[in-house]
Symmetry: C2
Subunit: 405 residues, 2 copies
């Protein structure tokens, strides 16, 4: 098992009465409420016309929400330009705002994805002059980041900049701009505009290219003095789990820039794997991609190995899985924790056993000593003692809760 | 055929007598002497202990030199640290200087390769502190560039920086430094030190990685304000000729940075191809790699296609082939224009038919008109009229030669 000491704090919790005097020899119930570590998933299913729910039938609303909230604390919402503003000047703001606010109301951190990308483009952008495309990009970023500030303060500022200028798998208006301006200018454009619109936002550089190319881009971006808050690393594993050793080496390469690593998009399949020779995953189109019993066992086992190795690396700050249910999953792949019919795969319980099991402090009775204290050892996060909140954070050694006498 | 108009000038040449008056109705012989375009090859065989010749037996000196000088005008000489300074403080300066001066005396431009690279390292560098390694790198660069200035004013300043920090195919002292400092700092180190040592030098960033990674590195280096004079692109094609379309697209990607492109290392085989699954060419070790009749025909045909497509691209400023003879060729591969026994392969005549044929103005009789002029149309370069020198350069429209009355 990967060493988790970098995720765990030990504090002395003092229980005091309303008179501020220690409550000695008192049985209190301590329980974790939330992980500081971002265990995320997409919340695309929760963007609906009428309310917060989307693709899934209304009869499944509650079970989907229950499953989602049972495991995750960070939701990625879709802001693909071509979907979000299909008709120029008419952004899909109301639905997205409702979904974002619903998540936020459940205590979930909401993330927007992505501000700038060359894929899923609105048709009306094609054929415009480069300067006009840039102006519209900047306007979109400003509008989104300002409009959602307070609800969404975490964005993939730019997506897949490595391939952006040379992308050849679909006409779009961003690639010619990136070809002309260069990658660093595109990154600067996204980050500067978003930063100005919301100085409190966490802005992520996100890519699927984990080769030296991305390292080179990051080095150039840092050299250019562009402030990026986290390095986003996609790991869609439709062609198979890459294993702990690969992940460790890859994370070490990106960790050396001293920035938090966000595993922005990760998936593991519970069905057959995509052939290794496919380079753009979008090119693999099949009528049906079933989840299988053997595949589900494999997925559950790999899920545990994958999360263990990522959480075990000190530089990783978040893991965002890319799909809750197979219903409507990207590429039709069986990547979910739930089957298309809503039933739970073994991976759900497997991940729950980590996030809400091995790495979680369930309600636990403790007896205070003569100084009114107990020792709480647990993953960094939010806790309660008899319902009163306290935290366990890095570097923290003490906390106090006030309880009824 | 690729359009060569960007390589060709048309000038009005006036022949005047000693009295400066035009020589009318006079037959003069005009002939090209040298291409401005750098048609290069390595000159490794000409670095010898006793004189300028190396690996080849002394009986072949003259035929090797004749073959080399018959086609090429730019020689790359080896300055691999591990060979050049096998024993610390005792550089192989005398032999290299003799070879460089011999080439220069033949009118050949001499290039040094490479100032900084992670491969072919001296053993004594291993285990030193990073700061000490950096100090020694800077010292070496300064010493070489200063010491050879005037004879060598063209250097591969840094070689293969893309893979440098993550190179895993051999222990060396440069990779740990590059891992710590980053690629851009390594590039800066090499370029700044070399530039300061010889401000007149042309300094090349050179890489075999022609993917987006190299683009990203270049963008970062330019963003960092490091002045690079040319982008070096290796194209060792031991696994097969990549074709005109690949080359055109690749060149377009790198041409967009507005810098001259140097095809620093190119090879085409006249024997069987290396299997495609080999990623580091150095890993392919076989006892014998024969040149074959079919392979030689293929090589000759591909050589013509390759040179035509490269010279046809306006951004390309030089092509440096990587081997004259199969005798002692890199990896033992049959890449030469000469077989190991010194006889010429069809590729020699094929390339000669371009460089000294189709793209060359042989001695040609012309008759001056009433103004004492003739029109000279030819590839940019150095020319003579009845032995008197003149040039044809980009943007030039006129030249004058003074001839006996």
């Amino acid at each position: 098992m990967a060493d988790m000491q970098h995720r765990i704090g030990e504090i002395t919790l003092t229980a005091v009465g309303p008179d501020r005097r220690p409550l000695t020899d008192r049985v209190i119930t301590v329980a974790q409420q939330r992980h500081d570590f971002a265990f995320g998933n997409i919340g695309f299913d929760f963007v609906g016309a009428a309310g917060v729910f989307g693709g899934a039938s209304s009869g499944r609303r509650d079970e989907l929400a229950e499953a989602w909230l049972g495991l995750f604390n960070t939701a990625t919402l879709p802001f693909y330009w071509g979907d979000y503003e299909r008709e120029r000047g008419k952004p899909d703001e109301a639905r997205l705002k409702a979904a974002a606010k619903w998540f936020a109301a459940q205590g979930v951190t909401v993330k927007g994805h992505p501000l700038l990308w060359h894929t899923v483009q609105p048709d009306w952008l094609l054929g415009l002059e480069l300067d006009e495309v840039e102006r519209l990009i900047r306007e979109r970023i400003r509008d989104l980041v300002t409009g959602f500030a307070g609800t969404i303060d975490l964005w993939d500022a730019i997506n897949e900049a490595v391939i952006m200028p040379v992308f050849a798998n679909g006409d779009n208006a961003i690639t010619p701009l990136a070809w002309d301006r260069g990658r660093i200018e595109m990154v600067r454009m996204a980050f500067e505009e978003a930063r100005e619109a919301n100085p409190a936002a966490t802005l992520v550089l996100n890519d699927f290219d984990l080769s030296s190319a991305y390292e080179c881009l990051i080095e150039g971006v840092l050299e250019a003095g562009i402030q990026i808050d986290a390095i986003g690393l996609q790991t869609h594993m439709h062609q198979g789990y890459r294993g702990e050793e690969y992940m460790q080496k890859m994370l070490d390469r990106f960790a050396r820039y001293g920035l938090p690593l966000h595993m922005t998009e990760t998936t593991l399949l519970s069905g057959h794997l995509m052939p290794a020779e496919i380079t753009d995953l979008n090119d693999y189109q099949i009528p049906s991609w079933p989840s299988t019993p053997e595949g589900e066992e494999r997925q559950a086992s790999e899920m545990v190995r994958h999360y263990r190795s990522l959480v075990g690396h000190p530089a990783v700050q978040s893991i965002n899985y890319w799909g809750l249910t197979d219903d409507g999953a990207w590429l039709g792949a069986p990547v979910g924790f739930l089957r298309a019919d809503g039933s739970r795969k073994p991976s759900y319980a497997a991940l729950s056993n980590l996030i809400k099991g091995e790495w979680w402090l369930p309600p636990t009775e403790m007896r205070t000593g003569s100084a009114g204290t107990v020792t709480v050892l647990g993953f960094f996060g939010d806790y309660v003692a008899d319902g009163e909140p306290f935290t366990v954070r890095r570097g923290q050694t003490e906390a106090t809760v006030t309880l009824p006498a």
